[in-house]
């Protein structure tokens, strides 16, 4: 330790270019936007999309770099640059681009247009990227807060809807609790291992032998850490905020939460359990097992009894999170090589899927996000067959039907579970997914098979703006493409297995 001169860490600027692009771009956008008149049409969104696309391109180059040079930990052990990080970064940037595009017309429909929402999207994405790359608990926490605070504001960003305000406040209060748990967990783990570095914790735990009974503080730390992250990924029993927040928040913010938010939280969870806590797998694996089973069952069952589509999808996202938890449970088995690829692949697939789904929902709920009741889908097959067809693809994919990406995702997770002889959890998950299928069927019935009811003709016609239509089309094509030709995604997710340690 230097006592007179402050030691600055060497910074690998190239490796953090995506973060710099987003941060710089967000600030420039905000400054310019605040100095100029309101930009016409979709320019706010386009500026955001450009940043995201630039990010993806740089990330592709970085992927190639890691291929040749191997993974590394940079900035004084704070950030890991490996395929896992880049996989998540690409997923996050793509989600950012897609959500921004579909938000564009939505904001104008709701007369909320302005640069703020996009700036918050970028800010949240930034936090998500830091979270998924962090190799230090403190950096992880910073990322988490950057993401969460932006999401709190985003959830409340529909200024004229009380539900939106309510959802923001609920998310804020409960999210604050979760952050506190998480932070306390970090503190306890620091107390017992003497480091906050994730790979450092892993090293300490693999060498240090705790005398029996002496690891209570560590175990409490792990428990609190898992509680904090379980809240963010929304698994039962830490899911209570999800339906309310998903329902109240502006529909596309919900899409953002369900894609980017889940991506970041799961990435953090994966990194913590694989890098920091592999030697403690016997301790956390049973917990994850219970969380997974509870989530798939409770998520599916409660989804079916809802009448509000956004609420249904919120519960279904809980059940999907349960599936991803099965992947994490697999990681906890010694020598496992299937769990991590299955989890990240599920994340990527689900994130595109959920954006497509919620974009359709945002169009169908019509002006003012007024009715996300299932009845608002009635007759969609007649009125907008293409949109209904795309929605059908998304719903079938969420139900895990073959030839869609959702099947590949579920198959990967089930395969990971079966490899580790967790047959019970695989069976429970599959049976729960049948229950969940009923929910997707209900929406499909409403779209295609329900008869018109009185007053239907007075409803506002559903407009499909170009940008949102594009997002739906891209998501649907991705969903089908991965369903038919999944090899490239499987290979990419397997590359993510090599974590920087």
């Amino acid at each position: 330790m230097g006592d007179q001169v402050m030691q600055y860490p060497a910074i690998d600027w190239l490796a953090i270019t995506p973060i710099i692009i987003l941060l710089g771009g967000m600030m420039i956008n905000l400054v310019i936007a605040s100095l100029t008149r309101a930009w016409p049409r979709a320019w706010y969104a386009i500026a955001t999309v450009e940043l995201a696309v630039a990010c993806v391109i740089v990330e592709m180059f970085l992927w190639h770099d890691v291929n040749t040079d191997g993974s590394r930990i940079i900035i004084n052990n704070a950030i890991s640059i490996d395929h896992f990080t880049l996989f998540c970064w690409i997923g996050i940037a793509v989600a950012l681009a897609l959500v921004s595009l579909s938000t564009s017309e939505y904001l104008r429909r709701e007369s909320l247009d302005g640069p703020e929402v996009y700036a918050l999207y970028i800010c949240a994405a930034l936090g998500a990227m830091i979270m998924s790359a962090s190799n230090d608990m403190i950096v992880l926490f910073l990322g988490l807060e950057t993401l969460s605070i932006a999401l709190y504001v985003l959830a409340a960003s529909h200024r004229r809807r009380a539900e939106s305000q309510e959802s923001g406040l609920k998310y804020f209060i409960l999210g604050g609790f979760a952050s506190a748990f998480f932070l306390y967990g970090i503190a306890l783990i620091y107390g017992s291992t003497g480091t906050t570095s994730i790979s450092g914790i892993g090293n300490v735990l693999s060498t240090e032998v705790f005398v029996k009974g002496d690891d209570a503080m560590l175990l409490a730390g792990i428990a609190l850490l898992i509680v904090g992250l379980a809240f963010k990924v929304a698994v039962v029993p830490f899911h209570f905020w999800t339906p309310d927040v998903y329902q109240g928040a502006p529909t596309l913010v919900t899409a953002f939460m369900a894609s980017v938010g889940k991506f970041a939280a799961f990435a953090a969870l994966v990194r913590v359990v694989t890098v920091a806590l592999p030697t403690r797998a016997e301790d956390w694996r049973p917990v994850v097992w219970v969380l997974a089973i509870l989530s798939v069952v409770v998520g599916s069952v409660l989804a079916v009894v809802q009448t509000d589509v956004k609420r249904m999808l919120a519960y279904s996202s809980i059940s999907h999170a349960g599936f991803m938890m099965i992947g994490i449970e697999s990681i906890g088995h010694t020598g496992d090589v299937d769990g991590l690829p299955a989890t990240v692949m599920y994340l990527m697939i689900y994130s595109v899927l959920v954006i497509g789904t919620f974009t359709v929902v945002s169009l169908v709920t019509r002006t003012g996000d007024a009715s996300s009741e299932i009845g608002s889908f009635r007759g969609l097959g007649k009125e907008r067959p293409a949109l209904a067809l795309a929605m059908t693809v998304f719903l079938l994919a969420q139900a895990g039907m073959p030839l869609t990406s959702g099947f590949i995702a579920k198959f990967g997770v089930i395969k990971a579970a079966a490899t580790n002889h967790s047959y019970a959890v695989a069976l429970v998950a599959m049976v729960a997914s049948v229950i969940a299928a009923l929910l997707y069927l209900r929406i499909m019935i409403s779209m295609w098979l329900s008869d018109e009811e009185a007053g239907d003709e007075k409803r506002e016609a559903i407009a499909i703006p170009v940008s949102a239509g594009f997002v739906v089309a891209v998501s649907a094509v991705f969903t089908l493409l991965v369903g038919v030709w999944p090899s490239w995604l499987i290979d990419a997710s397997q590359a993510a297995l090599q974590l920087a340690k």
């Binding site: 198959f411 047959y423 069927l441 098979l449 090899s487």
Partner: protein
């Protein structure tokens, strides 16, 4: 271990005909979907052409099929998802051959013979997608691929029942979807586990049916678990008692075309699966659990027959008769003699033809009278004698009257099972009598007597309807009088499966009761 699939591609054609059988209806479905809304006749033409082309390809395949060869023919194998060991592996043997041909024949007939009344474009697109799915299921030799097609079949069928069915259609469609999906959930876990456990013996992960069957050895208890995971899915699909309750609803509520396909080929996915993925892949477990399946099959036969007798609705009656008939097929499959299993395979086709035709006829009655209630119908024979004659032939085939196709299959099953499961056969044989009871009674009530006012204007069989029915009746009579060509192609593959059972378990199938060249004489007996 002796490789029993040494000559995998004995019969070859200049192009991968099996892949074409799957892709032609799939492409047809997409073309139908994108065709212009304003030119419905072109849409119909596209659908018809692609289904006829598929049917023609199927017949061509039948013509070039190498009779007497047991292994898979026209096989083509390509890598697909290589890191998971999943490949596009399709092939056809004596067991799937006629199911594929039947699928190819049924779909064009359904497209010509059944009118959806509304949204024809979507109806046709779903129908062709269904055909691609069914073809794929029968042809797949890769567990993953099979599951994919097996599951994808649900979606078009769901929409066909839900979109074009009768009053309770959504309930029936949802029930159908969920029942089958529960079964599939078990099967998916079973498939994944099978492949992963086979990895130890194979040295690499593979979902290839042939590779796993040849190379992997499962411990008895493991094999039983896996077998049951598969068997649940198939038992729902067959449907085997007590999982059959979705069937009457689905059949009754489905549009006529849907019912024909459902009875004709979809249910066969279950019996075919039991044979191909149950008995063939897990011989020990199948043999071990045979008494369970025999018992359930016999209960199904009797239960289905009794329930059919009590139905007021003609379509529901035919639906319950399906439960009974499928019971016979399962009985044959688990009798483990070459006659019974072969008879079961043949009965899959026979049931498809005769019950398919019955549903068509019931559909025609509904078109004319807008009711299917037996009590509303009376004396149709007087006003529509040709219609009644057609119904009579089809019904007699369903009962299993000698000289028609139903007899051959049922007779083979009963005589083959007699040696290995005598008491089950004794009970099952009463099912044959009950079949005569419920069908003849129904016929009597609907067609005999003096027509009342509503029925006196019942229209005679139209030319188009007659032409649609002609192939059915032709098959019924041909297969009844001269089943040899069919049995010659089925038997080698059946024997192969039984040899595998004997090799793996030490079970010894009793010597055939009938010598091969006596098949021609059965009808006289």
């Amino acid at each position: 271990m002796i490789s029993i699939f040494a000559s995998e591609t004995a019969a070859t054609l200049p192009f991968p005909i099996l892949t074409a059988l799957i892709l032609v209806p799939l492409v047809g479905s997409l073309l139908t979907l994108v065709s212009s809304q304003r030119r419905p006749e072109i849409t119909k033409l596209i659908a018809l052409l692609s289904s006829v082309l598929t049917g023609a390809l199927g017949l061509w395949m039948l013509a070039s099929f190498n009779t007497g060869e047991a292994s898979y023919q026209f096989a083509s194998k390509h890598q697909w998802i290589s890191s998971w060991g999943i490949g596009w592996h399709v092939g056809v043997d004596g067991i799937s051959l006629f199911l594929v041909v039947l699928t190819g024949i049924l779909f064009p007939l359904v497209i010509v013979g059944c009118d959806p009344h509304h949204d024809e474009k979507r109806y046709l697109a779903w129908l062709l997608l269904l055909e691609a799915g069914v073809m794929g299921s029968f042809l797949s030799l890769d567990l993953f691929l099979f599951f994919l097609f097996f599951e994808i079949v649900l979606v078009p069928m769901y929409f066909l029942i839900g979109g074009w069915g009768y009053d309770q259609r959504i309930y029936a469609a949802t029930k159908f979807f969920l029942y089958t999906m529960v079964g599939s959930a078990f099967m998916l876990v079973g498939i994944v586990t099978t492949a992963l456990l086979a990895k130890k013996d194979l040295g690499h992960i593979s979902f290839d049916l042939v590779e796993i069957a040849e190379g992997a050895n499962f411990a008895a208890s493991t094999g039983r678990w896996l077998f049951f995971a598969f068997a649940i899915a198939f038992a729902v699909k067959v449907p085997l008692f007590p999982l059959h309750t979705w069937l009457p609803d689905a059949h009754t509520q489905a549009p006529t075309g849907g019912s024909v396909i459902l009875a004709g080929v979809l249910l066969k996915l279950g019996t075919y699966g039991l044979l191909r993925f149950g008995v063939y892949l897990f011989p020990e477990a199948a043999l071990w659990s045979r008494e369970i399946f025999l018992t359930l099959a016999v209960i199904g036969i009797i239960w289905g027959a009794i329930a059919a007798t009590m139905q007021k609705d003609l379509k529901r009656l035919v639906a319950y008769s399906s439960v009974a008939h499928l019971g016979f097929i399962v009985l044959g499959t688990f009798a483990f003699t070459s006659e019974a299993v072969g008879g079961g395979v043949m009965q899959m086709i026979n049931h498809g033809v005769s019950t398919g035709a019955l549903f068509l006829l019931v559909g025609m009655i509904y078109e004319r009278r807008h009711t299917r209630l037996i009590s509303e119908l009376k004396g149709l024979q007087k006003v529509a004698p040709i219609f009644a004659a057609a119904f009579m032939v089809v019904m007699l085939s369903s009962i299993g009257v000698p000289g028609l196709n139903g007899f051959v299959g049922e007779f083979l099953i009963l005589i083959g099972t007699f040696n290995t499961a005598r008491w089950w056969v004794v009970v099952a044989a009463t099912g044959v009598i009950l079949a005569a009871l419920y069908l003849l009674w129904a016929y009597q009530r609907v067609f005999h007597g003096e027509p009342d006012e509503a029925n006196s204007s019942f229209q005679e069989l139209r030319l188009r309807e007659g032409l649609v029915l002609l192939p059915f009746i032709g098959l019924i009579i041909f297969c009844g009088v001269y089943p040899k060509p069919m049995l010659d192609r089925i038997e080698p593959s059946v024997k192969l499966i039984l040899e595998r059972v004997e090799e793996k378990t030490g079970y010894l199938a009793p010597a055939p009761v009938l010598l091969e060249d006596e098949h021609g004489q059965e009808e006289e007996g």
